[in-house]
């Protein structure tokens, strides 16, 4: 692991909401090309960590370095531009837009023509729009959504909506993909396919993945390293084997 480059470095991260400390003193790293996991019982602060990484919440303490850059002064849009993309626990699609348009929205910053060029339908508009569509369709093909390209996103079945969220996140051209409970609500077979898909995405786009998940089969199956959170504190960190054998983790999950 030492020869791999650190893409995400979290140092002493913490956040308070009023008097409540939701996350405290979290240290963790994600390496380039790695699939890492963040697990913990309900309310442990996992999604809060994602919200801090994307600057939806401003951390109270600690530092986040992404690809060598300090995120302290950055806003939400900056984190996306820097290369962090995420999906949401409760799906957040642009439900009134078509599947294709949802993915095209992900290319927002890659497309550079101005509104005036768009209104006048200049060459730059047509070329960039065509290129973005080609790339979007490729992505939809990978996510097995190509046949639904013109369906309104809100009308898709649940599993497909989750895949579309990943497609949209990938369209922003991330270096790190944050997946918030990607397997929630999926049956075992769908979860199996999702695991293959996540691995494929990592290899194909050469990105790192950090995922929050309750499905232990998925977590233990694809994560190379796992961090366990409990009551906002880091409980344990290590390979799936180490985590499964850690008595503190077992206690947190199963009780005494």
């Amino acid at each position: 692991m030492a020869d791999r480059k650190v893409i995400l470095d979290i140092q002493g991260l913490g956040i308070d909401f009023g008097g409540l400390t939701a996350v405290n003193d979290l240290n963790m790293q994600v390496y380039e090309g790695e699939i890492a996991g963040l697990i913990g019982p309900n309310g442990a602060g996992k999604t809060t960590v994602f919200n801090m990484l994307t600057k939806v919440y401003q951390p109270t303490r600690g530092k986040i370095f992404f690809d060598g850059m300090d995120l302290e002064k950055k806003n939400v849009v900056d984190t996306t531009k820097a290369g962090i993309a995420r999906t949401f626990q409760n799906i957040r699609l642009f439900s009134g837009l078509s599947v294709l348009d949802n993915v095209l929205t992900g290319y927002h910053n890659a497309i550079t023509y101005s509104p005036v060029e768009a209104v006048l339908r200049l060459h730059s508009y047509r070329r960039q729009e065509r290129e973005a569509r080609e790339k979007a369709l490729e992505l939809l093909d990978i996510m097995e959504l190509k046949d639904d390209a013109e369906v309104i996103a809100g009308n898709l079945p649940y599993g497909a909506q989750r895949r579309l969220e990943i497609a949209r996140a990938l369209a922003t051209g991330p270096k790190l993909l944050l997946l918030d409970e990607p397997a929630a609500g999926m049956n075992p077979q769908e979860t199996e396919e999702l695991m293959k898909m996540i691995r494929f995405i990592r290899d194909h786009f050469e990105i790192s993945v950090l995922l929050i998940e309750h499905d232990m089969k998925l977590v233990m199956g694809i994560c190379e390293r796992i961090t366990v959170l409990n009551y906002g504190m880091m409980l344990s960190q290590g390979t799936p084997e180490q985590i499964q054998a850690d008595p503190a983790v077992i206690k947190a999950y199963l009780g005494d």
Binding site: R92, S95, D101, H108, P115, E150
Partner: protein
């Protein structure tokens, strides 16, 4: 190659687009034919330009209300800004640019730009907030603009412009002219607007709105409407995006107002009051949110309806209200909805077959 082309042509967006343009051009041709053959009553003929103005303002408002999802209750205020700007510009340029058409174009452009600037100034503090603030602020803006113009006196003579507020202190040299006259508004305007200009303006408005919607900006605007957080996390700057749609909407209202102002020799500030804003909103809502063709049809019907009911005298606004309610009930009726749906799918099926044959 074939595939790419198909994607563009069969985009559902483009179907609505064709319908809108066809409707506007067909209506123009028919009405012009009727008018030149003398079959159009003078009442109808006099309504042609105002209808086109309201359509342009409603198309702008539709972008704001349904595509961007922000309620704007000050569209008449922006029309007012555009109208009085255009009337002043045109009045000032009468001598310099005597030909009607160039002066009309310059005046409309000025009206649109100034209204858009007002939109920008209002948008800066408001669009960063979530919720109904825009509705409240635009409502206030409409009222303020009305009061401001009611108290403005602007005149010019060979020495330049003279401006005073609340009471008329302009002492113009002989040959000078008052452009704004307080509560009397603008008088003695040369009527240079016409139906053709109005139709061209509608087409330009449609091109701007459609081309904007089906671009990166339009997707961003709708993304912000559908899910603010996800839009931001997709790298979209929300305030800028909302600003774009708001400014374009204000600019279109300004252009519409400019055309309106130049269609009458006298224009009073009270013309563009809160009721006018609400009327334009009714055109948009009744026409169907996001549906430009519907907006055009509903504007035509609702502008003409009170005039058609004029023979009923005192009862006409009552009937107008009843018709409005009936239209809403009928278009929302489940049976009517299923009927239009089945008709649509039949069309779509036919198109699908064509597609397969083509492939």
């Amino acid at each position: 190659m074939k595939n790419k082309k198909q994607l563009f042509i069969f985009d559902p967006a483009y179907r609505g687009r064709t319908a809108s343009f066809t409707l506007v051009i067909a209506a123009y041709v028919i009405l012009q034919a009727l008018r030149s053959s003398g079959n159009l009553s003078s009442l109808f003929a006099s309504l042609l330009v105002p209808v086109t103005c309201y359509i342009v303002a409603a198309i702008g408002l539709n972008l704001n209300v349904s595509v961007s999802g922000e309620l704007n209750l000050g569209q008449a205020g922006f029309m007012s800004v555009g109208a009085f700007t255009a009337v002043c510009v045109s009045g000032r340029l009468v001598a310099a640019v005597s030909a009607g058409i160039p002066r009309l174009i310059i005046s409309i452009l000025c009206g649109a730009v100034i209204a858009a600037l007002f939109g920008f100034a209002i948008g800066v503090p408001v669009l960063k907030l979530q919720g109904d603030y825009l509705a409240i602020v635009t409502l206030a803006f409409g009222q303020i603009i009305k009061s401001l113009i009611t108290n403005m006196y602007l005149g010019f003579d060979e020495n330049g412009f003279q401006f005073s507020f609340v009471e008329n202190k302009c002492s113009l040299a002989p040959g000078g002219k008052m452009l704004l006259n307080g509560p009397m508004g603008a008088t003695g305007t040369q009527r240079i607007a016409n139906f053709t200009a109005g139709t061209v303006l509608i087409i330009i408005a449609l091109i701007i709105v459609y081309n904007l919607i089906y671009s990166k900006s339009g997707r961003a605007i709708m993304a912000c409407r559908d899910n603010r957080i996800a839009a931001e996390l997709t790298g979209i700057h929300i305030a800028n995006t909302k600003m774009l749609s708001f400014v374009v909407s204000a600019g279109l209202a300004g252009a519409a107002g400019a055309l309106y102002g130049l269609n009458y020799s006298t224009l009073v500030p009270n013309k563009f009051d809160f009721n006018t804003s609400i009327l334009i909103l009714v055109y948009v809502v009744l026409g169907g949110l996001g549906n430009m063709t519907g907006t055009i049809i509903s504007t035509i019907v609702l502008v003409l309806l009170p005039e058609l009911l004029r023979s009923l005298q005192d009862y006409r606004m009552l009937i107008y209200a009843i018709v409005l309610i009936l239209i809403m009930l009928i278009t929302n009726n489940e049976k009517v909805k299923t009927m239009t749906k089945s008709l649509r799918s039949r069309f779509a099926a036919g198109r699908g077959a064509d597609k397969k044959e083509a492939a």
